[in-house]
Subunit: 359 residues, 2 copies
DNA sequence: ACTAGCAGTCTTGTTTATAGAGTGCTAAGT
DNA sequence: ACTTAGCACTCTATAAACAAGACTGCTAGT
């Protein structure tokens, strides 16, 4: 028996299948993707690409099933691609097409209408992914490899309340309210922020911690409160790398026939809603390069079957990265999904590099 | 025939029903809420609160149906509350209980563990609402009645990029990247931000617009770019009042029997995902006081039937307000939902007033 | 090596029968 | 004038039986 394929070890030797078997497998996947109905020999024959009879096709189908690329939900039904079948399709059979130029242009155009606002970019990316693939999309904000301080600002809201705004190196902004133990003036706040800004410079969290000089300096009460909060904030950023998750197109997926009944929709919703699931899955993506495909949970993720993910890291080479991609039924149009995800990742790469990468 | 009840005009005269009819209607709603199965005379009898025979109950049920409080999905099935029935239940019959003190304490405790961070509050509120009511929750950020400037900051990211951070009166923070036409220094940026900060003061958008003085002042290129962006940003805030929507517990609702099949789940998803639907619904809530209940769309919202909303505005009296609440099947536990929504709204009121309200 | 033909298997849809839930009505009781 | 026991009736839900159809796998012939 062949070893099980998995996301980690998923290359399937191309030679195990004859050209005709490859063609048949391809047709099965394509037809099943369209119709969501098991594909039989007559349907394949009707496709016209094969010049052989249904009997021959049946023989090949039997072989493909034996090899684990297809299965029957029951005797006397057509064939459905197995996870292994999808895997083979994706790696060996699929027509790798790029998004058409008009589509690319249209997408770029939508971005150019936006201001230089990361949040809007993420939202738009999620919307485009969902719309183009007719699946649900996920986009996480790009996060710097190491958390480093950039700037802080203290703003007096009223005499009992101070707004602390911290800007980190990756451009992310964090806010928090502070209650000073005694009334302060905006001038006093400006002094503190100037001092801390020049003190902290652009240092990474580790550097700041190491810098014993900070303790040495005399800090009066509120100053050290601010410093503590800044450090704590940076620590939080370091720990949870998914600051925000944008998602769109859930309604696409709940129209799919495999989700209308059965609890399978809840798998998608769970993945999208429960932060730690998403972190588990996306966490393993971070170090990968290019578009990654997880088909039907593929052994590693027990809680999702019948659900596939097409994901890609994106960001600025070596400095910051996020994840974007789509989630849909195993029976998804992988070609379109992959090309869309790849294009969006590249687009975000270049947008981010243009804007932030000049350093 | 009676006039249709609606969210606007929904008081139903208490006198139309006898005490026994009221009791029966109450039992029907309660039982149906639990079981999701049409309630028949024997079930009502078994409840034990009524000392009469099933035949008598049947007569009363027939009357209640005639009056429009109940209906049968088909002859020889039990009764299901109609929208009117739910309405009457909610207004006249329901046991109005507060959240128990231990529950209140537990919730407050969760908040006190958080920093003074609005975003975290919103998230927690959404989580608590969803968990407590076993429905999906929605929370929108409180937004000031009028958009007013508070502070801006310009931070040099690199020589081709400037981060603009704008803080508005309601404490909301907005960021955007700007590309100066020619390289600038941080010192130059500080000059600009100081100038604009003192110029704009704490003025509302309308005041700024009216202030022709701004045009009069000579502004060199980048300075006016910044000003333009600030104004545009404030305009956007004024137009769309839902800056962010937090939601949780969608998985609760998709376990409900009326949603497992049929397209009814998509109603909930649509309301939660599609911004403009939410704005339509929540928009009418803003001026109301206290907990509002929309049952099964109730005529006004055609796109939702079999879905109910329990919502409440919250915020700082007269200055800022958002909406929080839950969305679930019409067959939801209104008592629990209402008491939870009310408590959370009050809690947020007091938290916000404590922090921001001191002005 | 391929294919026509066919028996066999399984699903799906339809029909029919049955049991059960619940009603509405009537007639009798309080 | 209510209330209630009893019963006929209706409709659903479930199961069983059956026919039609979809595919297959196999065999034998090209």
């Amino acid at each position: 028996m062949m070893t099980e394929s998995s996301a980690q070890n998923n290359r399937i030797n191309a030679d195990v299948l004859s050209e005709r078997q490859r063609e048949i497998l391809k047709i099965v996947v394509e037809e099943y993707t369209i119709g969501a109905v098991p594909v039989g020999s007559f349907t394949i024959r009707a496709e016209g690409r094969l010049g052989v009879s249904t009997a021959t096709i049946r023989n090949e189908l039997a072989t493909l099933e034996e090899l684990g690329f297809l299965y029957q939900p029951h005797t006397s039904a057509g064939r459905i691609p197995s996870i292994k079948g999808y895997r083979y399709f994706v790696e060996q059979l699929m027509d790798q097409v790029e998004l058409s130029l008009p589509e690319q242009r249209k997408i770029r155009h939508q971005f150019y209408q936006l201001q230089l606002n990361l949040e809007q970019w993420m939202r738009l990316t999620a919307a485009i992914l969902a719309h183009n693939t007719r699946a649900a999309s996920v986009v996480t904000t790009p996060q710097g490899k190491q958390v480093a301080f950039k700037h802080l600002e203290l703003i007096l809201i009223n005499d009992a309340l101070v707004l602390l705004v911290v800007v980190l190196q990756d451009g992310s902004i964090h806010q928090e309210m502070l209650v000073p133990s005694e009334p302060v003036s905006q001038d006093a706040l400006s002094l503190i922020s100037n001092k801390l800004n020049s003190l902290l410079g652009s240092s990474a969290l580790a550097d700041i911690r190491a810098n014993r000089q900070l303790d040495g300096k005399e800090m009066h009460g509120f100053e050290s409160v601010v410093l503590q909060r800044v450090l704590q904030l940076m620590k939080q950023c370091e720990e949870s790398w998914t600051s925000a998750v944008y998602s769109d197109g859930l309604e696409n997926v709940l129209r799919e026939p495999e989700f209308v009944e059965s609890g399978k929709l809840s798998q998608v919703v769970r993945v999208l809603q429960q932060r730690h699931l998403l972190e588990t899955i996306l966490g393993r993506m971070m170090d990968a390069a290019g578009v990654q495909i997880i088909i039907g949970g593929e052994g590693t993720y027990e809680y999702i079957d019948d659900v596939s993910l097409v994901l890609s890291p994106y960001g600025i080479r070596g400095r910051a990265s996020g994840i974007l991609g789509v989630i849909g039924p195993t029976r998804m149009a992988y070609g379109r999904a992959i090309s869309t995800v790849r294009y969006m990742a590249q687009l975000m790469d270049s947008l981010l590099t243009n804007v932030y990468g000049g350093e």
